[in-house]
């Protein structure tokens, strides 16, 4: 096929089916795209090529399901909903697939693709290596795929995550209790968070950004879900790739130095979150405990979240006696 024949073919097509009705629509698309791409156009035909290429892209996009707000990948067909949240680096949209709810996470800048890749790697590693009993502590990765803008060639890594309703980030909890949360309420969050970390660390994943927005709780059931694994480290000796700017001061020193991230990095960040949640009236023993977990040198911090959990339990028993379930009431959600 020549350039002129390809341009005529695209010009004559009225519906996507006219071009892509054959057995191998993707092969047809690529063949035409190569012929018609403005970069490859014969001398003097750039204008024709640009117009034909744009029309080809648009017909191809329609063929792939655009227009009825669905996104079709190899594995699923997602019906797109509205924007659910705007994160540090990505926008999250509600999606439905196979009768289930999910969240589509799309980075705003393509330069953040590597962070979405990290999240996908971490969630897959947790599934594969982590104890299945604790899976609820992290969202499930439904799929990670590449999205390409047909006109600009910009590629983004998109992650689809399972979605559970009714979760509240620690930031909202802090807003509901501006004078600090009762340490006994902080206690169960802390315990669950250490379970989440212990589980992840055993699977070989350091979260790298245990910050208030990334710790979600389920107040009635005392659940904790650790989200946003974009900053995670799954490689022995690897370092955290980026800091969340507004929490810059919360990070332990090894992060900015690009030194290896270890379980002690997460323990430091988690302890900071707990200190921030508690009112100043909390027992000194708890603050001392946190100080021990937030030493500047990672070697002086606890290295193992499971063992730290046992220590915390001992301390809590000493302070408050045997564990009892305390209902956590969020003023904003009781209406």
């Amino acid at each position: 096929m020549t350039f002129a024949e390809a341009a005529a073919l695209v010009d004559a097509a009225r519906t996507p089916g006219d071009l892509f009705g054959g057995d191998q629509p993707a092969v047809t698309y690529r063949k035409l795209a190569r012929l018609l791409h403005p970069d490859a156009a014969p001398a003097g035909r750039t204008v024709t090529a640009t117009a034909a290429f744009a029309r080809l892209s648009s017909l191809w996009a329609t063929h792939q399901g655009r227009g009825n707000t669905t996104l079709t990948t190899r594995r699923h067909r997602y019906t797109l909903g509205d924007r659910f949240a705007t994160g540090d680096l990505a926008n999250l949209y509600r999606v439905r697939y196979d009768g289930r709810q999910g969240l589509l996470k799309l980075p705003r800048q393509p330069a953040a693709n590597d962070l979405l890749d990290r999240e996908a790697t971490a969630l897959v590693t947790l599934r594969r290596n982590g104890d299945p009993r604790h899976r609820a502590y992290a969202p499930e990765l439904v799929e990670s795929f590449r999205h390409e803008d047909p006109t600009t060639g910009v590629r983004r890594t998109a992650n689809v995550l399972s979605h559970c309703a009714g979760l509240v980030p620690l930031t909202e909890l802090a807003r509901a209790y501006p004078d600090g949360l009762d340490p006994r309420d902080v206690a169960w969050i802390w315990r669950r968070l250490l379970v989440a970390l212990g589980w992840a660390h055993r699977a070989g994943v350091v979260h790298g950004a245990v910050l208030p927005e990334h710790v979600l709780i389920e107040p009635d059931q005392h659940g904790v879900v650790l989200v946003d694994w974009c900053y995670s480290v799954t490689t022995e000796g690897g370092s955290v790739p980026a800091l969340v700017a507004r929490y810059r001061d919360w990070y332990p020193p090894e992060v900015a130095k690009r030194a290896p991230a270890t379980p002690a990095t997460d323990i430091h960040l988690a302890s900071g979150c707990m200190r921030w949640l508690m009112g100043t009236g909390a027992p000194d023993a708890l603050f001392r405990f946190i100080r021990g977990c937030t030493q500047p040198s990672p070697r002086r911090r606890p290295q193992d979240a499971w063992r730290l959990l046992a220590e915390l339990d001992e301390l809590l028993e000493k302070l408050y006696g045997p564990r009892r379930f305390r209902r956590l009431v969020l003023p904003t959600t009781t209406v």
Binding site: A26, R30, R34, H37, D39, A40, S57, S58, W60, A61, Q64, G65, R66, T69, T72, L80, D82, R83, T86, D88, L89, Y93, L104, L106, P107, R108, Q109, P110, A111, A112, N113, D114, F145, R146, H147, E148, D149, P150, T151, T152, G153, V154, R155, R156, T157, A158, T234, T235, E236, G237, V240, P241, L243, V244, A245, A256, K257, R258, A259, P260
Partner: protein, 325 residues
């Protein structure tokens, strides 16, 4: 870097000039140079960059670094004669938009005088000059290890690629060699050869993870090299890079292999189309290339193409509140 046009004619003219005068294409090395050429010296380099420009609006950075130690035998010279064709091949076949190619060489930082040589990303005949200025060590430590980790460190920390930053498309890095990396990037070697201060060593796995933020990283083990087909060496690289390890039984096919790998990565072609293209230009390497790329071609996912705005997906929002480390 990366401006200018590459011309087969200029390359052809330079090659026949060298042939006529009896000079080797590795004239710099063969004239007895045992010091890194200034254009290839990694010391004090901030970044080697691949930039978009009016002339090349969608740059595709491709780096090819090969082992120049003795264990590679005559491989570096064969590569030298084959690699200049790479650019023409990419352009002719449309496998990548605006390719910008960098050449470099890897030696052994524990004993070689020139363990790391890194050119610039170029889209004209300067890349050929870089290739000609590479010093061939011919030594090596003889311990089945070369300083690949030092080269990977440089590529991870001292490159800046518009394709990644603007368009989310990773560049391509091909390491061609026959040995293992040292297990850690060592602060003393980093200081000596690049001038950077590192607080502590970096494990190879960690530097590969960092490198992969910018590059699709491939390791090519050619036949004719000392350890070709060595299961320990192949196994090591496969643990590090997964399916991005290519055993190549015909070194003459190195350009085609690289070109097709890039074409597959860019989704410009599928493997069958690429092999047909090769046959069309009279290449006899389709068998080797097909075998080498079979695993890569069959497992690659296809990108979903949709206009985001029409689908109701915005990419607007606050500036990313991130500090990159």
């Amino acid at each position: 870097m990366g401006s200018g046009r590459w011309s087969t004619d200029v390359y052809g003219a330079a090659a026949s000039y060298r042939a006529a005068t009896g000079r080797s294409a590795f004239a710099y090395s063969d004239s007895g140079a045992r010091k890194v050429h200034e254009r290839l010296d990694p010391r004090g380099v901030d970044v080697r960059e691949s930039r978009d420009s009016d002339e090349h609006p969608r740059s595709t950075p491709i780096a090819v670094l090969f082992d120049v130690t003795g264990s590679m035998g005559s491989v570096p010279r064969t590569l030298q004669s084959k690699l200049p064709e790479l650019f023409g091949l990419l352009l002719r076949k449309g496998y990548a938009t605006d390719p910008q190619i960098m050449f470099g060489a890897i030696g052994d930082a524990t004993c070689d005088r020139v363990p790391l040589q890194i050119g610039q990303f170029e889209s004209d005949n300067r890349m050929d000059d870089d290739l000609g200025n590479i010093v061939l060590e011919g030594g090596g430590g003889g311990q089945r290890t070369e300083s690949y980790e030092l080269a990977m460190y440089f590529m991870a920390r001292h490159t800046s690629l518009d394709s990644v930053e603007r368009r989310g498309r990773r560049g391509y890095l091909f390491l061609i060699g026959d040995e293992l990396p040292y297990p850690q990037v060592k602060p003393a070697e980093v200081r000596r050869w690049t001038g950077d201060e590192l607080a502590e060593p970096i494990s190879v796995a960690a530097i590969v993870a960092e490198l992969r933020q910018r590059f699709e990283v491939y390791y090519i083990l050619p036949s004719g090299a000392s350890y070709a087909g060595d299961p320990e060496i192949l196994g090591y690289w496969r643990r590090l890079l997964g399916q991005h390890v290519i055993e190549l039984d015909d070194l003459d096919a190195v350009c085609e292999t690289i070109a097709l790998t890039v074409g597959l990565g860019e989704e410009a072609i599928d493997l069958a189309e690429g092999l047909t293209d090769l046959a069309d230009v009279g290449s006899t390497a389709t068998g080797s290339v097909g075998r080498a790329l079979a695993t890569i071609g069959s497992t690659r996912g296809v990108a979903v193409r949709t206009d985001l705005a029409t689908a109701g997906l915005d990419t607007d929002g606050p500036d990313d509140g991130l500090i990159r480390l």
